[in-house]
């Protein structure tokens, strides 16, 4: 039999109230209700077991009550996830971009290519936009998943697909480039699906490397005259991207959890 304490804990846990302080206060408020009920029932001469049974029966379905609380505090929850999404995107994009640029600078030095021609090129700008779009879409997926109780990934994917389509249409209408938005969305969906579907790190890494290998073959058609060193540089660049994006998924999860935890305690 479910006890009153379990009942209250279930309600508060399932209420999805963002603020830790508010959850604690609700727990305290419901506990005082239970105390009042128990006190009056004892005064009426009822036994402990009967009191617990009556209390649970009179209180109502905990899931239904929790859903009502979730509805009441929906705006705070959305604001919290939106704030976490924006800050996480900024932090993770900065870290990943800095890491990728540093590694590319290292590679450029290794291959004897002038540093400025690599970091100051249009290619670097495109890469930075690709990283921003991927991180934003990936963080968006993580945040959206938390808003849905049932089939979170499928629903988050549906919302992301719809949002990306609107963004791509808006960018295209104003004559702006859309490739990085499409790349970011597809890449984020691929990385998140791998993350959710595969539990072993080695398997995830293998699939991500294979995925980026396929992308490399699709997007890069080496001319017959291409020198082996150029091919090696391109291959190394794609593998570097795969490693960076896989590392991004770990960093994103940690930054998201840390920010969520911090904000919930504000």
């Amino acid at each position: 039999m479910r006890t009153a304490d379990q009942l209250i804990a279930d309600i508060v846990r399932s209420s999805r109230i963002s603020s830790h302080k508010r959850r604690q206060e609700l727990l305290r408020e419901l506990a005082t209700h239970v105390d009042d009920f128990v006190l009056l029932a004892r005064q009426a001469g009822r036994g402990d077991e009967e009191i617990q049974r009556l209390l649970v029966a009179n209180f109502g379905d905990p899931q239904q009550i929790a859903q009502q609380f979730a509805w009441v505090y929906r705006r705070e929850r959305i604001m919290l996830h939106l704030s976490v999404f924006l800050i996480s995107t900024l932090v993770v994009t900065t870290v990943v971009s800095a890491a990728v640029m540093s590694m590319q600078a290292g590679m450029a030095l290794g291959f004897g290519v002038p540093l400025l021609s690599v970091l100051g090129s249009r290619h670097s700008l495109i890469e930075a936009l690709d990283i921003l779009a991927t991180v934003a879409a990936y963080m968006g997926l993580i945040s959206l998943e938390k808003l849905f109780d049932r089939r979170p990934l499928a629903r988050a994917l549906a919302v992301l697909a719809a949002s990306s389509a609107v963004l791509v249409a808006a960018f295209a209408a104003t004559g702006m480039a859309t490739q990085f938005l499409i790349f970011g969305s597809v890449n984020a969906v691929f990385l998140r699906t791998v993350q959710v579907c595969l539990s072993r790190s080695a398997a995830r890494l293998g699939v991500v490397f294979a995925g980026f290998g396929v992308l490399g073959v699709i997007f890069f058609h080496p001319p017959a005259s291409a020198v082996p060193s150029a091919l090696a540089r391109i291959a190394a660049s794609w593998m570097l991207m795969a490693a960076a994006y896989q590392a991004m998924t770990h960093l994103a999860a940690r930054v998201d959890a840390a920010l969520l935890n911090r904000f919930q305690r504000l």
């Binding site: 309600i11 206060e25 609700l26 305290r28 408020e29 419901l30 005082t32 209700h33 105390d35 009042d36 009920f37 009179n58 209180f59 109502g60 379905d61 905990p62 239904q64 009550i65 009502q68 609380f69 509805w71 009441v72 505090y73």
Partner: protein
């Protein structure tokens, strides 16, 4: 007589605002007052009271304060705000109008 949940849902805001217009109360006290004043017609599931109270608090119709009651126990007391007082009067007018209209239909030949 047990009242249909859908019928009760529409009246709970008015009921809570009206009860709190008589003075501040804590959750359990509100339930007891509702049951006594309605001759036990209003005996809804106790847990559903709190989301309704929190919703009214968010709307600014009521405010809450933790304090120690006469019996030395600490409880969360709810009281009406001036916005809530106006809302209570407005809801009451709407309710009187609605029930009058419904009764007119029910009693018509």
């Amino acid at each position: 007589m047990e009242i249909d949940r859908e019928l009760l849902k529409g009246s709970i805001t008015l009921l809570l605002l009206n009860l709190l217009s008589r003075g501040e109360m804590y959750g359990y006290e509100i339930l007891q007052a509702a049951a006594v004043r309605s001759a036990h017609a209003f005996e809804f599931k106790e847990g559903t009271l709190y989301p309704a109270l929190h919703q009214l608090e968010k709307k600014g119709h009521i405010k809450a304060q933790w304090r120690t009651g006469d019996n030395g126990r600490e409880r969360k007391y709810y009281s009406l705000t001036s916005k809530g007082r106006k809302a209570a009067q407005q809801y009451q007018r709407q309710w009187t109008h609605l029930t009058g209209a419904v009764n007119a239909v029910l009693e018509s030949k």
